[in-house]
């Protein structure tokens, strides 16, 4: 890994580590969703996935907006826009995976459902698609308010649209629902692992493209 990615990533995480309250709320969000449906194990785990998707995308969105002030001048100082974006998004993805790991452990200890392996896969994919989605919205949004509203629209639609409808597949966290269903129901589930992974892969690829194009314009090539 290049020195650029390491330096940018390290400073992204150091900056986040100072925002204790934000980090605490971030950990609390999926936990609140999980505890709210604690009485219904399947729903509790499903909502844990939704909460993680939101938490990961929110932190990626705000990390992108926070970096707006410094990224252009860091580019002038010598980092490339690729290093800056990859370092930041990579660091947030790492944080998202740590967050996912914490919840895998929590569920495994609290009330094992399905296999731990498939739950870990579901939450890891959720964290990554969340970070990718938040980063893309962060690259597109003109300011914080617009960014937050964009995120609400995406997250809200995810809740409102009938998951069986075709349109649901156009939303970024469709794969989360499929993978969570599979984690809960086991391999007998009707949910297709391959379809979910392809959807997640396509979501990440599309978000990466949007992030790259918008960031390159904003930071300067």
């Amino acid at each position: 890994m290049s020195a650029a990615l390491l330096s940018v990533g390290e400073m992204t995480l150091r900056g986040l580590s100072r925002r204790r309250a934000s980090l605490a709320l971030l950990f609390a969000l999926p936990l609140a969703f999980y505890l709210a449906r604690h009485g219904q194990p399947w729903q509790a785990v499903r909502f844990l996935g939704v909460g993680l998707a939101w938490a990961a995308s929110t932190i990626a969105l705000f990390a992108a907006l926070d970096a707006r002030g410094t990224e252009p001048r860091l580019r002038v100082s010598g980092w490339s826009w690729r290093d800056l974006v990859a370092g930041r998004v990579g660091a947030i993805a790492l944080l998202g995976l740590v967050l996912a790991g914490c919840y895998v452990a929590l569920v495994a200890v609290d009330r094992p459902i399905g296999t731990t392996g498939s739950l870990a896969l579901a939450l890891a994919v959720t964290a990554i698609t969340g970070v990718a989605t938040g980063s893309a919205l962060g690259a597109l949004a003109p300011r914080e308010l617009e960014g937050a509203l964009l995120l609400f629209i995406v997250a809200g639609l995810q809740m409102v649209v009938d998951p069986e409808a075709g349109a649901a597949r156009l939303l970024p966290f469709w794969s989360t629902r499929e993978l969570m269903t599979r984690a809960i129901e086991g391999s007998s589930s009707s949910a297709s692992l391959a379809a979910a992974l392809v959807h997640a892969g396509a979501t990440v690829a599309l978000c990466a493209l949007v992030t790259a194009i918008a960031s390159r314009r904003r930071i300067g090539a």
Binding site: A4, M11, R14, T70, P72, R73, V76
Partner: protein, 276 residues
């Protein structure tokens, strides 16, 4: 204009420029003696009193004029046009910054100073004209530009590493530059906890870190106290005395006397005064 009137206005202008009274008296007596002997029209021989006073005040400011002769061209802008939201911001602007020169960019609000600086930094493209910058650039934007949740030392590392400095060298250079601005950066808290003026110092240090060939500072000393502003200029003079180039956007009246050359946007884009 009557000679007596011209002399009176000259004395007035020199006082307005804070020229020490002994120097001002010498300048006035010398001009008076010249005019007496040459029996010439003062306007023809010396120009307007205000302009002459300015020239003499500049010649007096030793730090601003003692620098080495300006060197090779570091940045050149020729006939640059830029439209922004349907409004012409820059209309055929010319500008040259040479090594060993601290150039001041002035002009009314909204005349495109920041846009021109961003174009020089490579962050915006002009709609027309030519821009050539030779070498590395350090840029401090007018607003923000520092990471709110990182300590100054962490930011020195982030910016210094971009220039290829080691971690230790980046912190050492950052602390040294901050010290030149009378700021102890080694023990400072995260940027969000700093005062506005101190954040401005941090921003200046981050631009200068790693000795880029061209320093671009957009309103660098807004919020700096008088002593810090003076230290800022000393840092800048030291910078150009080491043969490096700088372009500074500033409104403060004292900046006019302290820079080596002044370019005014919004009117004619020709330099008001060259370093030569």
């Amino acid at each position: 204009m009557r000679t007596a009137t011209w002399i009176e206005q000259l004395a007035h202008e020199l006082a307005a420029l804070d020229v020490p009274s002994a120097d001002a008296a010498a300048i006035v007596v010398e001009a008076e003696s010249h005019l007496g002997e040459a029996a010439a029209d003062p306007l023809a021989a010396f120009g307007a009193p205000a302009a002459y006073a300015r020239l003499m005040a500049d010649a007096l400011a030793p730090a601003a004029s003692a620098g080495p002769a300006a060197g090779r061209v570091r940045a050149r802008v020729a006939g640059v046009h830029k439209r922004y939201r349907g409004r012409t911001v820059l209309d055929g602007v010319d500008l040259t910054v040479r090594d060993g020169e601290a150039v001041l960019l002035i002009g009314p609000n909204g005349c495109g100073k920041s846009t021109l600086v961003r174009i020089l930094a490579g962050l915006q493209r002009p709609d027309g004209g030519r821009v050539a910058v030779d070498g590395s650039v350090g840029y401090a934007p007018q607003h923000g530009g520092v990471a709110p949740h990182l300590t100054p030392s962490e930011q020195f590392v982030l910016f210094g590493r971009a220039r290829g400095l080691s971690r230790a060298a980046a912190i050492r250079d950052g602390v040294r530059l901050a010290d030149q601005l009378a700021w102890d950066a080694a023990r400072a808290p995260v940027a969000a906890a700093l005062s506005g003026g101190t954040r401005q110092k941090l921003s200046i240090v981050l631009a200068a870190l790693g000795e880029p060939d061209l320093l671009l500072l957009d309103e660098p000393y807004q919020g700096l106290d008088l002593d810090s502003a003076q230290r800022f200029w000393e840092l800048l003079w030291d910078w150009r005395d080491r043969g490096r180039a700088a372009l500074v956007v500033a409104h403060a009246r004292d900046a006019l006397e302290r820079a080596d050359a002044v370019v005014e946007l919004g009117r004619a884009s020709a330099p008001l005064r060259s370093a030569a």
